[in-house]
Amino acid sequence: MIKYGFLVMGAPYSSPAPHSALRFAHAVLARGHQIAGVFFYHDGVHNASSLMTPPQDELNLREAWTELNQQHAVQLDVCIAAALRRGLMSESEAQRHGRQAFNIALPFELTGLGQLLELQQRTDRLITFA
């Protein structure tokens, strides 16, 4: 059993990276390995938006990531600096910055870049999808 971590830097619906990462994730699990966590960085932070509303007959990437968290305990970390710049924030960050809305909620967590290093240290493989 190998422990995997993913770094996702592509935006949903404009980059194929999130799709590639998700398909790879299911193949990893099917081979009996474990996925410890996913770190969303750069434009990849948009994967976490709770306001993401694609047409009903299309894959909702946020829901697909959420399912991975719920069924396989995959930690979903979002880089806070990359997220705030792009207008993605949690309720507490919205309060801190005086914003009227928020669009990051559990199971996604806003974290620092240190979490990426930590993910690399506690996994056997770190695969980048960008």
Binding site: I2, Y4, M9, P16, A17, S20, R23, F24, H26, A27, V28, A30, R31, H33, D124, R125, L126, I127, T128, F129, A130
Partner: protein, 96 residues
Amino acid sequence: MILHILTKAPDSSASTQMQQAIGDQDAVLLIEEAVTAALDPSWAAWQQCHTRIFLLSEDLIARGLASIAAGNGLPTLEMDGFVALTEQYEKTVTWY
């Protein structure tokens, strides 16, 4: 021993940089836009890595290139084979 994952077309700068970085023991997996390499069997990397370079079949199929890859006799892998490569190679580098 490194697994290089190329996501951009063979004429991209990402591809050129990757080709300069490939070591003798390394393997290459072509995914996303990189599967357009199936159209060019004379691409230098096919010779450079001959037994250690693969196209991801799902991405070939998505672009309608599966039969062209087969016709050109180029090696393909399923997503399962992608995972197997990462089992074999401890280090991976994604070129994008």
